[in-house]
C-alpha cells in the first residue's frame, strides 16, 4: 500500500531534494527498505554497519514514535505518514 515518507531537511539532498517520497510498504521496515532501495545514498545516514537504525534516527508513524509501537515491525495502512526525525547529540572527548 502507498505510504508517504517525510524526509528531514539534512537528508533531502540524498532523496532527489524531495520533502517526501511515496513508497509501497506494509511495515515501517519495508518502507525504509523501499526508500533506501530507491535512494541508495540515504542508507549510510539511516543505518549503522550492523544494519540497525542509527541511534539518533527516530521514526514516527502519524506522530507516534515507533519505539512505543512495534518498532520497525509497526504495520502501515494506505495513507499513513512515516516521518524520519533527527535527534542531535555530541560532546567532547575527555
Amino acid at each position: 500500500m502507498a505510504v508517504k515518507v517525510i524526509i528531514p531537511t539534512p537528508l533531502r539532498a540524498y532523496a532527489g531534494k524531495q520533502e517526501s517520497v511515496e513508497v509501497q510498504a506494509g511495515t515501517v521496515a519495508e518502507a525504509l527498505s523501499a526508500l533506501t532501495t530507491k535512494f541508495g545514498d540515504l542508507k549510510k545516514h539511516l543505518f549503522a554497519e550492523d544494519g540497525k537504525l542509527r541511534s539518533f534516527v527516530n521514526v514516527y508513524v502519524n506522530d507516534e514514535d515507533i519505539r512505543y509501537l512495534q518498532k520497525d515491525q509497526t504495520s502501515l495502512k494506505a495513507g499513513d505518514t512515516v516521518s524520519i526525525v533527527p535527534s542531535i547529540a555530541g560532546g567532547t572527548d575527555l
Binding site: 531537511t9 514516527y60 526525525v85 555530541g90 572527548d93 575527555l94
Partner: protein
C-alpha cells in the same frame, strides 16, 4: 563544499557565548535558525535548548526528537529554516570530537564554542562530509546587520 560560508549576526554569537558561560562546566546546546542559499547561510535567530544528557552533561549534549520538531516548527513560524546546531566544549578545543562525528547529520551547520575556565574562546563551525568520514570547516563571517541573503 569549498564555497560554504556561515554568516552569523554578532548578537547571535554573543548569545551563543553567553549560553556556554551560563551552563559551564556543562555543555550548552541550541538550534540555529536562518536562511540557506545554495550553501551560503545566515544565522538570524537562535533557539537555546535544554541539554537532555543529565547523566554526563560535562562532555555530552543531546537534543531529543521532540525538541528537534519544536525547533522546526519555531523556524517555520518565523519564516526561517532550521539550518544547524550549536554546542559548547567546556575546557576543550572548538573542534568536533569523534563522538560528534559519529552522531552528526549531513547538511546541518555545527557551531562549537570552546569555553575555557568559564570564558568563551574559539568559535568554529563545521559540516559533515557526505561519506560521514570527517568534517569540512565552515568559515564564520560575523555581521552587525543582516547579510541580505
Amino acid at each position: 563544499m569549498s564555497t560554504v560560508r556561515l554568516w552569523v549576526r554578532d548578537e547571535m554569537l554573543r548569545r551563543i557565548h553567553a549560553h556556554g558561560v551560563e551552563t559551564y562546566p556543562h555543555e550548552c546546546c541550541g538550534a540555529l535558525l536562518g536562511h540557506d542559499d545554495e550553501g551560503t547561510r545566515e544565522v538570524i535567530d537562535l533557539m537555546p535548548l535544554a541539554n537532555r544528557r543529565d547523566d554526563s552533561p560535562r562532555n555530552r549534549f543531546e537534543v531529543t526528537p521532540d525538541d528537534v520538531r519544536l525547533a522546526e516548527k519555531t523556524a517555520r513560524e518565523k519564516h526561517l529554516e532550521l539550518i544547524g546546531w550549536y554546542h559548547s566544549h567546556p575546557d576543550s578545543p572548538a573542534r568536533p570530537s569523534e563522538f560528534d562525528r559519529e552522531h552528526a547529520w549531513p547538511w546541518y551547520s555545527y557551531i562549537i564554542v570552546s569555553v575555557q575556565q568559564g570564558l568563551p574562546r574559539d568559535t568554529t563551525s563545521w559540516r559533515l562530509h557526505d561519506d560521514r568520514a570527517g568534517y569540512d570547516p565552515e568559515p564564520i563571517e560575523t555581521v552587525a546587520h543582516p547579510a541580505g541573503i
